[in-house]
Symmetry: C2
Subunit: 251 residues, 2 copies
DNA sequence: AAGTGGTCTAGACCACGAG
DNA sequence: TCGTGGTCTAGACCACTTT
């Protein structure tokens, strides 16, 4: 189990010997280009054919990458027209969770406060990073983020834990982590007493529990959970619509 | 644009001349088997190879179907082991929306009240079904469901509008409708005054707006929206976890 | 007509889990 | 070792949009 190489350069190429499958490598490259401003929202990406040529992979592999990114809300596919960089992605995404901002005029200031930061032995004897952080919105605690990442996969994780990004974002953008779609879930729960205190919640108030797990060889053992105050979050499924018009007017 | 044939028989076969793509036909067959009790939760499905033989399609097509169903939470894929019927699916699903039931010991009694039920001319001149229903939980209105379905696709829709199933369920199970993953969204909105009255909500209370659209040739023009009281619903992303251990107490 | 993404095929090799 | 699902290839034809 070799560690995953760090970050993708702008002109990165696909490495056939990497532990990351080709589609995940290509995904990381494209995310780097999207986040780096290479493709502003609305901009068309190179065609599938062109991506095949440029990165030396087959069309099915390119499509696996593009479908994955479209499912994550980062790309928009239009038959007959092309694939386009999507709008949105303004806040640090917590996966399918996004902060409720609609009610407020001003975007809240977000930061993470580290509570725990160590390595430990997982049950199966593998060394893992254990991380616990509290997400604050304008200084008010709104979510607890917990992460478990095998050291063998991502040795230098702590160095990249800058405090404006969610762990999910870091793992995805920097290391190409892919969470199987079927291994993501959001459910309503009652937080434990310590967690409720961390989030300054009244006993009995509901929370949303997001859970993401990696089950592939190259993601195995990775798990991220986010416990979020239900009154401060909404779940964004896939992606927000282009524009919200007449939300309740029949078609 | 031929109408989509109705319902799939247990021993249905793939029709290469159908307007539905093969993967969508196979999906409808498997949904019929799953809903009909052919594969109780936890039961392994036939292997991909076996499905290829049985339905005469290639493995990539079978995988497209199984991946789609897994993404919808109906199947569980386990490398090296097999594909299994998933648990869950107890309530009428509204797509990614599921009624919050955790707060209550007892499952609420659900039914739909029809408000509108007619055909009209869509903007582009195609005839469409227009449907409006109110979902009630124990008699209390909790969501407004609106549907627009081209008559050419599904001529006999009203006959199938039995009142315990959501429109999404009907379209998916009976007609094999597929909503592109990237065309589903859930956002928080403020309902219009009439809708707020329908749902017995106080002004200013938030609601969740689910929107599903079909953009393929064989789903084109189909749109389902569900406006749901935010205090009565949660969003279930993909599927609930097998069992909830650790950080918090499940509801 | 040309180029795009959507569907589909028939192979291949691999990692995984179980006997 | 064997059967499973995961990844990947190199083609093909189609529907869609624009020129």
């Amino acid at each position: 189990m070799e560690p995953i190489p760090d970050v993708a350069e702008p002109d990165a190429a696909i490495d056939p010997t990497s532990p990351l499958p080709k589609y995940a490598q290509l995904r990381r490259i494209l995310i780097g280009l999207l986040d780096g401003g290479g493709f502003p929202p609305g901009t068309p990406l190179p065609s599938e054919q062109e991506l095949c040529r440029r990165y030396g992979v087959s069309r099915m592999t390119v499509r696996q990458t593009l479908d994955l990114l479209a499912g994550e809300g980062r790309l928009l596919r239009r038959p007959g027209k092309g694939t386009f960089a999507s709008h949105g992605r303004r806040h640090p995404s917590l996966g399918p969770l996004a902060l409720v901002t609609g009610v407020r005029r001003r975007e809240p200031h977000l930061d993470f406060v580290r509570l725990e930061h160590r390595t430990a032995d997982s049950g199966s004897g593998t060394r893992v990073h254990l991380l616990t952080r509290v997400l604050r919105a304008d200084g008010e605690p709104v979510a607890v983020e917990r992460g478990c990442v095998p050291v063998a996969l991502v040795p230098e994780l702590p160095a990249r834990m800058w405090d404006g990004l969610s762990l999910t974002q870091i793992l995805v953008a920097a290391f190409g982590m892919v969470f199987e779609p079927a291994e993501q879930s959001v459910v309503a729960v009652l937080p434990s007493a310590p967690d409720a205190r961390l989030l300054d919640m009244r006993p009995g108030s509901p929370a949303l529990l997001l859970r993401q797990r990696g089950t592939r060889r190259w993601t195995r053992g990775t798990e991220v959970t986010v416990l979020a105050r239900a009154d401060r979050f909404q779940v964004r499924f896939v992606r927000p619509p282009e524009r919200l018009t007449a939300p309740t007017t029949p078609l």
